[in-house]
Amino acid sequence: MNNISKNRYHGYYRYLVIITLFISIIILTVLGMYYGGNARSITLEDTTNFIVYQGKVTLNDIYHRITGEDLFNMPSLSEGEKFKYILLKKVRFPPILGAIIVGITLSACGLMLQTLFRNLLASPYTTGISSGVLFAVTLVIFISSIAELFSIFNIDEKIVAGWCGGILSLILLIIIALRVKEVNGVLIVALLSSYLFRGISSYLVANGQDLSIQEYFMFVVGSLTRVNLNNLPSLILVTIILMLGSVFLIKPLNALLFGESYAKSFGLNVKKVRVLILLLTSFVVGVIVPYLGLMAFVGIAAPYMARPIIKTSDHRWLLPTTMLLGVILMLMAHIVSLKYWVPIYYLYGINHPAQVLPVGSILDIVGGLLVIYLVYRGEKNIKMI
């Protein structure tokens, strides 16, 4: 009976963690919008007002479509407010939502793959999908004839190319996954193929123009600047698909904690689940990476930090915690990249104005330090796959 009361205590603790993380996300979102640009006239109050206003508009819209009546009486806006709101909506809001989406999707993918491979270094990028995407994008950036080929779709050619690269490597991955007995074989093949793709990429980079190289670099590090209102719907759709899919995968993932042999004896169709997880994660990565570039670290760091915080490996708790932590990491990295970039500009006397730091590099630095600290503090955390 003692054990049952202890479980209940755990339950309360876990709810508390989830709620705390959720509140921090809301605060960080507001802060992110507030710090999101250079217009000083926009105050913190404006930001919160905007969020409430926008929420009301959306609700009203939905209500209007269903019943044909208005739910709220919308106050008319002054010219200044209108301008501010447009600024917030079109400039500051998309990167924040981008950060949230990346946080949710990549960290969840990272966790699933870590559990599947029983390896803490597995991340959305170790499946080889990202190298495929990166390879295709590199071709577009450096070879103009290929760029023209992909531009016929009337969308950004890099995104189209990224999708194609993603699909190709996905097909490759599924073929391997169905053939290989031991799941780590998939990991090795994916890793080695990523070296292959990198090799070709570096050949192109070595002979590239300055501007292309910068573009390539920004893509590799990853940044939120390319997100805009037009491509948000597809990103949101992917996130919803991932979240729905992950609900169905929670139980298989818990079984996979014991390794594939045991999972099979629990009545799991291991090969099916393996392919399902790889399919879902690579689909998500394949869609998101072309928009945002590689943001490798959130997929490793978020699950890693979630484990000691939620104190269980049960995916019913671990998965939501990981998603929330991923969002927090991304938002924090975004805010830091906006306001507190390191003044290399002054240190090295670069003459042209310094770029806003890509969010990926902040993430790598902050996340890297955090994880190193966690490993240093408790070796036993490493075992908590």
Binding site: F258, G259, S265, F266, L268, T312, K383
Partner: protein, 380 residues
């Protein structure tokens, strides 16, 4: 319950064991024994459907086991594997709860019945106190218990264990042995287990299958099939012997030391002396032992030279003379504090005689340390 019919197991391009016909019923434990690499695990993996059979069929309740879906199979059969699991930060309760996997809904929620079964499973392996303990804080023995509780929570009819005793100390091995017997009768389980320790296997198994050289060399009740020639042959032993009476091995004398020792003992007082002397390479002659003496069994298993007497007969004058001659040609005489009765009076006379002959006689009084010192004195 579980039955293999003309089964051949192996990997993609070669067969490891062929012609396997085994059957196991409810409340029975089948033990599979064999040297490393003989194919015990391969057979177990095939029964557990991790491998496809090369030939033949495995039936579970007269259904082909390899045609059942994983979920159907999980409700009938659960396994405990040798591989060490690392499920991360989970309590014993979480681990046992995984056993309910084939029964729970999409989200793995536990109902009242599930909870009852989990607690009951833990209770039947005496692991209730482990339910709130974290898995990575448990010892190997505790982990094994929890994993077995997990297997029980699956409510199987067949339980398969691959070398469950490998990481365990003596206490836990014995506990596990008793536990398996208890489970097989109380839960009506059919248990298939591979073991390295033949002394354990002998004590828990209802049926035993010995595997060697691509085939089952013996199959049946362990008491019937565990004979010296069969077991010696099973492990290709040439420096040790298996004894049916002892249920274990004794080393043969390597004979590296030049001294001849005559040992006078009986009623089990000499077994440890024999082990000590044989281990250290002395050439030992033992006398005079009745064939029903436990010392006789130990000595015979070590293939020592024994001057033997028929059971319950008094020692004959002929054997006495034989022993005395042997003593004369020996360097050292060791005698133990053996009990003296009507039929072995002459052994006492042998001791007295050897002292009269001015032989270097050592009395063993239960301490090998003293014996060793005295032997070293003589050697100097």
């Amino acid at each position: 319950m579980l039955k293999t019919e003309n089964l051949s197991v192996g990997y993609s391009n070669y067969v490891v064991v062929e012609g396997i016909n085994l059957e196991i019923r409810e409340r029975e434990i089948l033990c599979i024994i064999g040297p490393n690499g003989a194919g015990k695990s391969t057979l177990l993996k095939t029964i557990g459907t991790y491998l496809k059979p090369k030939k033949g069929v495995v039936y579970l309740n007269s259904q082909n086991i390899h045609k059942l879906s994983p979920k159907e199979l999980a409700k009938e059969m659960s396994v405990v594997l040798t591989e060490r699991v690392n499920p991360g930060n989970m309590t014993g309760y979480d681990i046992v709860a995984i056993g309910r996997h084939p029964y729970t809904d999409l989200f793995g929620r536990l109902g009242e019945r599930d909870k009852w079964i989990i607690e009951h499973a833990a209770e039947s392996v005496n692991a209730t106190h482990l339910l709130s303990k974290n898995f990575f804080e448990m010892s190997d023995g505790e982990r094994q218990k929890i994993m077995i509780a997990r297997a029980l929570a699956q409510e199987p009819k067949v339980l398969i264990l691959d070398e469950p005793t490998s990481f365990l100390d003596a206490k836990h091995k014995i506990e596990l042995t008793i536990l398996l017997r208890k489970l097989s009768t109380e839960n009506n389980l059919a248990i298939v287990v591979t073991l390295h320790d033949i002394e354990l296997a002998l004590r828990i198994a209802d049926k035993m299958a010995l595997i060697k050289d691509n085939r089952i060399v013996a199959y049946g009740h362990p008491e019937d099939i565990m004979k010296r020639e069969i077991v010696n042959n099973l492990y290709d032993l040439d420096s040790a012997n298996y004894s049916e009476v002892l249920g274990y091995f004794e080393l043969k004398s390597p004979k590296t030391v030049k001294f001849n020792i005559f040992l006078i003992c009986g009623a089990g007082t000499g077994s440890n002396v024999m082990r000590f002397l044989v281990k250290n390479g002395y050439n030992v002659v033992v006398g005079i032992l009745h064939k029903n003496d436990i010392d006789y069994t130990v000595g015979k298993t070590m293939e020592l030279k024994i001057i033997e007497e028929e059971p319950y007969n008094p020692i004959s004058q002929k054997n006495y003379e034989l022993a005395l001659n042997k003593i004369k040609s020996c360097d050292i005489v060791i005698y133990t504090d053996f009990p003296i009765g009507e039929i072995n009076k002459l052994n006492k006379k042998l001791v007295e005689e050897s002292i009269n002959l001015n032989k270097y006689a050592i009395k063993y009084e239960g301490s090998v340390e003293e014996l060793k010192e005295k032997l070293n004195e003589f050697i100097k």
